[in-house]
């Protein structure tokens, strides 16, 4: 994305405020005009100063100075008010949109990108962008206007000197731009290395228990130091080069100032300029150069802001999931599931699911078994449409799931994942995730059904206990029970249980199994299971190995076949015996 496109996109966000900006522009005129009128008045006042005499006219001039100063101050505050409002609202809109975008990105995007990176785009980059934008607003307009107005006022006093000033100043702009160009790539580098560092920090700080168990603290610190050093080197360069801008432009401005003094003195000696006017000129030369300094400062800041905006827009332009129009009415499905010649792989060169067909009647229980890592969860990714098959179709009640809205599909399916996830919020909020309108009684009965009521009761504030990101207050098993309670509360026609029982003790599990049996009655269910004993009554058992379904059928049929399942089964019963 080049800078032009980025700027265009930024403008789209600012556009809604164009009336406010126009008003701010007017206010800027007013404030700049007054600010610049003050030196003229002061010049007049200085001309009233004469040796051996006190000119009373000076009072009325000075009174005007004070009034102008107050009016200028008022309008300056108004400007700050407006620019603050616009900047923070633009930034708010950007963040909102980025967040909405995240919700529409395919799960694959998140699987392939670091969380830290996405978070840093949404938070840090947007923050830096807002700093740049605010500076741009408050200093760029005013700066340019001040320059133009100063030129105008200077022309009104003396043409020659003014021309000289105008001829000399582009030098300062030129230098500023040269430096900005050199600095930009340094800022990009800095941004990139920072991203890497953030990722590393997230990983290591988030998993301190493991880090400590392995006494990795020192080694980690060493690794961190390597990145830290690289970042520090890169930042040093970025800082130094960007900070050259100010002294360089100041040098040129000071030379301009000296030239104004020289020419002014010459012209005054000739009697074509009063001393008061010269004082005014000198004050202008000072003020005139200030906006140049500011503008060049703003330019560096804007460069950084644009680099940040570029990263945000890159996120916002990621390809979204395609969404079908969906079916207008899709209330309660029966739960018949058909897979026809489904092909799928995460990476084209690594084949995974090949030509899988499966027909599931309403209310059937499908078990998926196989050695660890055989791709069992992939099937769930496909059913939930976290991923779409490369070829083939999946139908629900004879309706293609690809033509449904994802939400329509997912509303029909209840899922408990192997990796439990607890949202920051109360226990109650976590359970009612699928049905926010559920009453407290319903929640409690769902919790009882999933055997979580007893431990919830014992939490400090019971159902209103606040759970945090990592759910530190809960054990792994308790987290899983909560996730089950969530599904218990909504009971959709299809259930997916992905190794849901892996960290629940067997006694609790037994009870959950019973609850599940009840829950599964009349519902189509898919179970990724480890214990062969729990799935013998499944209607269809899919035996997977290396990403392929190598056998399917019910328990007896598979045993008769004497294939892989039979081996697994005998092995298991042998151990269990």
């Amino acid at each position: 994305m080049d800078n032009k496109t980025i700027i265009k996109k930024v403008w789209n966000y600012i556009k809604p405020y164009r009336i406010l900006i126009a008003f701010a522009f007017l206010l800027t005129f007013f404030s700049v005009g007054l600010t610049l009128y003050i030196p003229i008045l002061v010049g007049d006042a200085i001309d009233c100063i004469v040796v051996n005499m006190f000119n009373r006219k000076i009072f009325s001039i000075l009174l005007r100075v004070i009034i102008c100063a107050m009016a200028a101050a008022g309008s300056q505050w108004g400007l700050a008010f407006i620019y603050n409002k616009i900047t923070y609202q633009v930034v708010r809109d950007m963040r909102n949109e980025a967040f909405q975008k995240i919700q529409k990105l395919p799960v694959a995007y998140m699987d392939q990108h670091m969380y830290g990176d996405t978070v840093s785009r949404m938070i840090t980059d947007v923050d830096q962008f807002s700093d740049g934008l605010l500076m741009g607003f408050s200093q760029l307009f005013t700066g340019i206007l001040t320059i133009l107005a100063t030129i105008f006022f200077m022309f009104s006093m003396h043409i020659g000197i003014t021309v000289l000033v105008i001829l000399l100043t582009p030098l300062s702009l030129f230098v500023a731009q040269l430096i900005a160009k050199k600095t930009y790539s340094r800022f990009l580098d800095q941004s990139r290395i920072r991203g890497i560092q953030t990722g590393k920090v997230e990983e290591m700080i988030g998993n301190q228990m493991v880090v400590r168990a392995f006494s990795r603290e020192e080694k980690n610190l060493e690794e961190f130091d390597t990145i830290n050093e690289a970042l520090s080197q890169c930042s040093l360069k970025a800082f130094f080069y960007s900070s050259l801008t100010n002294p360089s432009t100041r040098l040129i401005n000071n030379i301009v100032y000296a030239c104004v003094g020289l020419c002014g003195a010459y012209v005054s000696i000739k009697g074509m300029l009063t001393l008061g006017q010269l004082a005014c000129y000198l004050s202008y030369a000072n003020q005139y150069t200030k906006p140049f300094n500011e503008i060049s400062g703003v330019v560096t800041e804007l460069q950084n802001a644009i680099a940040c905006a570029g990263r945000i827009f890159a996120l916002m332009e990621e390809k979204e999931e395609e969404e079908a129009d969906g079916y207008s009415e899709l209330v309660a499905l029966q739960g018949k599931v058909d897979l026809e010649h489904v092909f799928f792989s995460y990476e084209p060169e690594q084949k995974l699911i090949e030509d899988l067909s499966l027909h599931v009647q309403k209310g059937q229980k499908i078990a998926i078994v196989g050695p660890t890592g055989c791709g069992k969860t992939t099937l769930i990714n496909l059913l939930m449409r976290f991923y779409d098959p490369v070829k083939g179709s999946i139908r629900l009640d004879d309706l293609s799931i690809q033509q449904m809205k994802r939400q329509q599909l997912r509303n029909q399916i209840g899922m408990v994942l192997q990796e439990t996830w607890i949202k920051t919020g109360t226990v109650l909020e976590n359970i009612t995730m699928g049905r926010p309108d559920a009453t407290r009684e319903e929640v409690i009965s769902a919790a009882k059904a999933s055997y979580s009521h007893s431990f919830i009761k014992r939490l400090p504030q019971g159902y209103d206990t606040l759970l945090t990101e990592n759910g530190e207050a809960l054990s792994q098993g308790q987290r899983q029970l909560l996730c089950i309670a969530r599904v218990m509360l909504c009971l959709p026609p299809i259930l997916i249980l992905d190794e849901a029982t892996s960290s629940i003790d067997t006694r609790t599990e037994k009870k959950i199994q019973q609850a599940f049996q009840k829950m599964m009655e009349g519902r189509t269910s898919f179970i990724v299971a480890h214990r062969l004993s729990t799935i013998q009554d499944a209607d269809v058992i899919l035996v997977m190995k290396d990403g392929n379904v190598i056998e399917q059928g019910n328990h007896d049929a598979l045993l008769k076949k004497n294939g892989f399942y039979a081996t697994l089964y005998h092995h298991a019963t042998h151990i269990e015996a």
Partner: protein, 573 residues
């Protein structure tokens, strides 16, 4: 914030030279109005053009020297700022690794990450700005005042009154906005947390079709942030206009007084112009200064947040009395003596009055319901937390008498949550033992039942694991963590329910591999399945934080009701 300044110490030279060169630049700058006054009074008034020419050359010279001094200052400032941040980050990171796990739980990892990144960036700019610019401004202001005194003591009185008023304005506004900036940062933190959580829980949120609702929550939180930002902006936006007003009022008085002085011959016109210039210079500097202070307030907020973490004293006491190598005469590798433990002061005990012994070389199983305290027991062994009452002895010594490093080196842990790290598989394995040979790694992979899978990967041991192990399944991650633990040559191996995602066949093979280690390594297996631990020399049965029984499988089957029930359930299923 102030305490952070010690990290500037190694950069004392830079931190002094930076402002020093800035001050040299300022000195040159402060001479300019005097030179101008001379140009007017000596040159213009006496129509002496060659004098004007000389003064012009002097001005140019001042500009060039000012420039040289300035870039030197910039260099030192940048060097000190980046060095400061690098050292601080290093220290911060090291400090986090020293805090106890319960302290980390308390602060929260998202917040730590934010402090490590955003706040550090702010601090870096802050130090750079302070050295470059903030010290410059007061110097200009004071310098201008001194110059004014050198011109006219009477009129300099105006400077003497104006400067405190301006300082007061700056102070009051800072005082008001600093807490507000902190609030803004807090709100930003909340937003960060929300975003992160959404990314991590994406699958579940989508399964429950919560996208819209999450967006709504985000919009609300974001709006609240925006409101605060605008509020601070409105107050800090008053700084420039107020100072502008005050300075111009002072200028008006200055010129009036100047006119009086000139009329009685105490002052020349050129000198009034110089005084006026000095006053204007003060304004320019103050506006710069005020803008910088706004930036700096953000930095102090960041600094405080960083300092707040550094203020946590490591809660874990480490007594390093390594001098006497303890002789383990008891024959017990691990011994719990009436151990009671709770996570928080007011919480119910997670473990209550637990006592047991594990003999060297034994294989011990720990079984119990969810929340019965199995993981807590493991955490205590590794001293992630300290016991509330009682003692834990390991290898002949109270574990509190070991350095944490020595203690943890005795234990190879395979944690309940299978955590692998971004980087190659080899790097991950080397966590267990940095000196492991290729052969040893393959053997560990074989024992962990994942050798075949790795062999199938084109990169083998260099297979690249993405952040959070996203390109691995749960079971694969678990087996990698097992291999990692196996590589560690430790006296004790703890498997904290780490075979839960493995199927029976794989688990059985794993168990067989582990049995070979019996005798040489004390093995503690936490599990939900009786099958996994039934051959253990000793099984500890936990129930609701209590040790209800311990003994062999057969003995427990006879005597322990809880155990019987567990076995019944698993058999019957």
């Amino acid at each position: 914030m102030r305490k952070l300044l010690k990290f500037l110490k190694p950069y004392t030279k830079e931190s002094i030279l930076g402002p020093l060169f800035k001050w040299i630049e300022v000195l040159f700058e402060l001479c300019v109005p005097l030179v101008m006054a001379n140009m007017i009074d000596q040159g213009i008034a006496r129509r002496n053009m060659s004098y004007v020419g000389k003064m012009f050359l002097l001005l140019v010279l001042l500009a060039v020297f000012g420039f040289l001094a300035s870039i030197t200052a910039q260099y030192f400032a940048a060097k000190a700022a980046t060095g400061f941040t690098r050292d601080l980050k290093h220290h911060f990171y090291a400090h986090i690794q020293n805090l106890s796990i319960s302290q980390l739980d308390e602060i929260g990892s998202a917040s730590l990450v934010n402090r490590m990144t955003n706040d550090m960036n702010q601090l870096q700019s802050g130090v750079n700005m302070t050295l470059r610019l903030v010290l410059r401004s007061p110097f200009v202001v004071l310098g201008a005042m001194c110059m004014a005194f050198s011109i006219s003591v009477k009129i300099a009185g105006i400077f003497l009154i104006t400067i405190p008023i301006l300082s007061l304005i700056v102070y009051v506004i800072m005082k008001m906005t600093i807490p507000m900036y902190r609030k803004v940062q807090e709100k930003l933190d909340i937003l960060l947390l929300h975003t992160r959580e959404n990314l991590i829980g994406m699958r579940v949120l989508r399964a429950f079709c919560k996208e819209e609702e999450e967006i709504q929550h985000f919009l609300d939180k974001n709006q609240s942030l925006t409101n605060w930002q605008k509020k601070v902006g409105r107050i800090s936006g008053m700084l420039n206009p107020l100072t502008f007003m005050v300075v111009n009022l002072a200028i008006a008085i200055l010129i009036w007084q100047g006119a009086v002085e000139v009329s009685i011959g105490n002052l020349t016109q050129g000198e009034v112009i110089a005084l006026y210039n000095y006053m204007s210079q003060i304004l320019v500097e103050l506006i710069k200064f005020a803008n910088l202070l706004v930036l700096l307030t953000k930095c102090t907020a960041s600094g405080d947040r960083v300092q707040a973490v550094l203020d946590y004293a490591p809660a874990m006491k480490e007594e390093i009395k390594e001098t006497s190598i303890a002789k383990n005469e008891s024959g017990n590798m691990v011994e719990f003596r009436q151990v009671t433990f709770q996570y928080h002061e007011n919480a119910a005990p997670a473990l209550q009055n637990i006592s047991f012994q594990i003999k060297t070389g034994e294989m011990v199983g720990i079984i119990g319901a969810t929340g019965s305290g199995k993981s807590s027991l493991v955490h205590l062994l590794l001293r992630f937390y300290d016991v509330k009452k009682g003692e834990i002895w390991m290898d002949g010594k109270n574990i509190a008498a070991y350095s944490l490093r020595t203690l943890r080196d005795k234990i190879a842990l395979c944690p309940q949550k299978a955590v692998v790290f971004q980087g190659s598989l080899r790097e991950n394995l080397l966590w267990g033992n940095p000196e492991a040979t290729e052969d040893e790694m393959w053997r560990a992979l074989e024992d962990a039942q994942i050798k075949e899978l790795v062999e199938g990967k084109p990169d083998g041991l260099d297979f690249y694991i993405e952040q959070g192990g996203k390109n691995l399944s749960g079971g694969q991650k678990q087996r990698i963590t097992i291999a990692r633990a196996l590589l560690q040559k430790a006296k004790i191996l703890i498997l904290d329910d780490s075979a839960s995602a493995l199927d029976y066949v794989t688990e059985a093979k794993l168990r067989k591999a582990l049995e070979k280690r019996k005798g040489t390594q004390t093995i503690i297996m936490v599990s939900q399945r009786t099958l996994s631990i039934q051959h253990a020399d000793q099984i500890l049965v936990l129930d609701d934080g209590n040790l209800v029984a311990h003994g062999t499988h057969d003995a427990l089957l006879e005597s322990c009701e809880v155990y019987q029930e567990i076995v019944q359930v698993q058999k019957g299923a």
